[in-house]
């Protein structure tokens, strides 16, 4: 790599005193600007009677939060309220990443399908979603689509226990009964056994050359053993169904419309981008590769798994990494429809005590950390799983 870098910039290396001096000047100017901004800020904060520092994090927040993953009430501290926001951001981003990936893969495959209608529908989906601002999509879902749903009293029941209404979506809540911990242990053991069988099958296939259905066998072991354990421990999972009482549903898992809109919007928007990555990945694999594999009599499923996917993913993964990062950043649009994510809660705190510098600093620190983790994780995946060269 150092070779290409050297040839790419011939004669532009900086070794002399003149350039060292000019760099020192640049640094001094930048530091000078930072100093002026800093003193200005101090002066302005003093003028407006705004405190500085992070002591406010311990003060009582007094702000209500509509949707929290952890126990929260307004007497908790600002720091705790901000944590609620961080968790909400992470939660909605995580779910959106999972669903957007699934939908995106479908859309990408549909785009290159031989089925004309399917390819056209997928193309229209991609071209529509990608050419609209996400904020517009969110507003549309929030105030047109979800608002058109019926009142909870007349909620649409999709399947038993799943209700759609304009106040939100309601799902059955799984509840752990007696014997759940034994069942959980058994299930984990079954998972380990299944994975163990898969690994063994792979090495067996390598050693003997004889086929051994590792994935399906392992999955079978896991499913059958888990099912047996479930029956043996006396069905330790029950579900609490949402019930309409008074003016709204009680019990069950409730999904507020704000959360649902944000999740749906993020998924639809990002899936369009991921679909394009998948499409360009598939199209980047030369047709000769597939034809050669087919000519050798390799089955279609194996061609897809062993020839098409590994090469397509090399194109798809890096682009999708960027889309995941954008998704996390886009989740900040929550503030526009009132889902209490980190930006929304932080914005409320700024409104209350004016400590914008601290809050904006905290936002940036959290987002930069999340981005760093995503790119580290995806780089690892890229290096370890996808770039297996001979």
């Amino acid at each position: 790599m150092s070779f290409t870098k050297r040839t790419a910039k011939p004669g532009f290396s900086v070794q002399n005193i003149g350039s060292a001096l000019s760099q020192a000047v640049v640094l001094t100017v930048v530091l000078g600007i930072v100093y002026v901004l800093f003193t200005n800020t101090q002066e302005n904060l003093a003028l407006r009677g705004i405190e500085s520092g992070f002591e406010f994090l311990d003060h009582e927040a007094g702000l209500p939060i509509g949707d929290s993953l952890i126990e929260y009430n307004p007497t908790r501290s600002y720091g705790y309220a901000f944590l609620v926001g961080i968790l909400n951001t992470l939660f909605v981003s995580f779910l959106a990443v999972v669903f957007a990936t699934i939908l995106g893969v479908f859309v990408g495959i549909a785009r290159v399908s031989h089925n004309w209608l399917l390819a056209k529908v997928a193309a229209i989906y991609v071209e529509t979603l990608r050419n609209l601002p996400l904020l517009l999509t969110l507003f549309f879902i929030y105030s047109v689509v979800l608002a058109a749903l019926p009142h909870p009293r007349a909620a649409i029941e999709l399947v038993e226990g799943v209700y759609l209404s304009k106040r939100g979506f309601y799902l059955p809540r799984p509840m752990a009964e007696a014997g759940f911990s034994i069942f959980l242990t058994a299930a984990l053991a079954a998972l380990a056994l299944g994975l163990g069988f898969w690994r063994w099958a792979v090495t067996y296939k390598m050693r003997t050359g004889r086929p051994m259905p590792g994935f399906w066998g392992g999955l079978g072991i896991f499913v059958i053993l888990t099912g047996l354990a479930y029956l043996a421990t006396g069905r330790p999972i029950s579900s609490e169904l949402p019930v309409y009482a008074g003016f709204n549903f009680k019990g069950g898992l409730a999904m507020k419309p704000e959360f649902a809109s944000l999740l749906i919007g993020l998924v639809l928007y990002t899936a369009a981008y991921i679909g394009e990555n998948v499409r360009s990945g598939i199209q980047s694999v030369q047709a000769g590769q597939i034809e050669a594999a087919n000519a050798l009599g390799v089955s279609n499923a194996v061609v897809t798994r062993k020839v098409l996917l590994p090469q397509a993913l090399r194109v798809t993964i890096p682009a999708t990494t960027n889309d995941y990062a954008s998704l996390v950043k886009n989740s900040s649009l929550a503030v526009a429809i009132g889902y209490p994510d980190m930006v929304s809660i932080g914005g409320t705190i700024i409104g209350q005590n004016g400590q914008a510098v601290e809050i904006i600093g905290m936002w940036m620190a959290v987002y930069l950390t999340i981005n760093l983790i995503i790119s580290l994780g995806m780089n690892y995946l890229n290096a370890r799983v996808l770039h297996v060269e001979r």
Binding site: L45, N115, W116, L118, V121, S332
Partner: protein
């Protein structure tokens, strides 16, 4: 040559079998290839049959095109008079109605220039100068100069504001992005690390946090007696944000220029600065024109976020209009209209991007 020479005359080709050509073959190849294809096609047709007629019915058949809110409520379909009634507000916000011709002139100038650019009638330095002058002209026209009545920036809004934010943002952020990319690629260590820090910081955080920074934090940074209005602060934020992304696009172009280009220039005795300015950058920009257009689309979509910091751009006006009590209950129409306008602008830009890709350097190589 005697007359008995037989010239070989192949028999005319037989027509392809009917199973290979014609609409039936097309249907079989593209829609009903096998049982899986058939199932997918039927499911999609069923979904379309369930949704499309209702949509067409709402948008056109039962829709009201002339009349007032009561006519709309009786008809039950889409209410397009609502959009007509709000059209001026959606286009230019609370800008004085009687001065509406000024933004209109700018819009016509923009459309003409865009058409000339798309058809490749204007090119090179003239094109760049024209696009650089346009936003300045628009600022003077809309704000009031040359002895025209001044219109305060707090009155700017609607689609006009969205386009202004995007246009000024793009035109200022591209040169800034080029400088940042050059700093990152060729700069000495201190400059390089400053550029990297700036680019990565801005790319790592959501635009909203930067807009909040501009609207809440920037007043704190400035000397107490210096007041910059909200619109300008937000415009600056959008420029800086966009510049960070532009810089990364341009850097990709810089990396695509073979080392031989700079080596040849230096060997001929061209100075470093001139090599970069006249040999590397123009070629690099040519390489990255399509992704630069992509960034323009992204920036235009991002202008919708200014609603969160209190500017009433196109989407903001749409939202406002949908809360008007006279026209209550016609939100869907407002958003459908907004979607149509945003889509039209973004999609034509992306068509232009594809056109550039077709004309571009990588296409010529093939």
């Amino acid at each position: 040559m005697d007359d008995n020479t037989i010239i070989f005359q192949p028999a005319p080709a037989r027509p392809a079998p009917s199973s290979r050509v014609g609409p039936r073959a097309w249907l079989r190849a593209n829609l009903f290839g096998g049982w899986k294809d058939t199932v997918v096609t039927l499911i999609l047709l069923a979904i379309l049959a369930l949704t499309l007629p209702g949509l067409v019915d709402w948008m056109f058949v039962r829709a009201t095109f002339f009349g007032d809110a009561d006519n709309c409520r009786q008809a039950g379909g889409a209410c397009w008079p609502f959009i007509v009634d709000k059209f001026n507000v959606l286009m230019m916000g609370v800008y004085p109605q009687e001065l509406g011709w000024r933004p209109a002139v700018c819009a016509i100038a923009l459309i003409v220039l865009a058409a000339l650019t798309y058809t490749n009638r204007v090119r090179g330095i003239v094109l760049i100068v024209a696009w650089a002058i346009l936003p300045v002209f628009a600022l003077f026209m809309i704000g009031g100069a040359f002895g025209m009545r001044e219109v305060d920036q707090s009155l700017w809004g609607g689609l006009m504001l969205s386009i202004m934010l995007a246009l000024v943002g793009v035109i200022v952020s591209i040169p800034l992005g080029v400088l940042l990319a050059l700093g990152r690629y060729y700069g000495p260590p201190v400059v390089k690390s400053l550029c990297v820090a700036f680019i990565e910081l801005l790319r790592g955080v959501p635009l909203i946090t930067i807009l909040f920074m501009a609207s809440v934090m920037m007043p704190l940074f400035l000397p107490p007696d210096l007041v910059i209005n909200n619109l300008l602060r937000i415009q600056i934020a959008m420029i800086l944000f966009s510049a960070a992304y532009m810089a990364e696009v341009v850097r990709g172009g810089l990396q695509a220029i073979p080392a031989g280009q700079t080596e040849a220039a230096l060997a001929l005795g061209v100075s470093r600065a001139r090599t970069i300015a006249f040999i590397v950058v123009p070629q690099a920009l040519r390489h990255v024109l399509p992704p630069l257009v992509g960034r323009c689309i992204a920036l235009f979509k991002d202008t919708s976020l200014v609603i969160i910091v209190g500017l009433l751009d196109f989407l903001g006006m749409i939202k406002n209009a949908s809360l008007d009590t006279t026209w209550l209950g016609f939100q869907a129409e407002a958003y459908v209209f907004a979607a149509f306008v945003y889509w039209l602008i973004c999609y034509s830009l992306s068509l232009y991007g594809r056109e550039l890709e077709r004309r571009g350097p990588s296409a010529q190589k093939r």
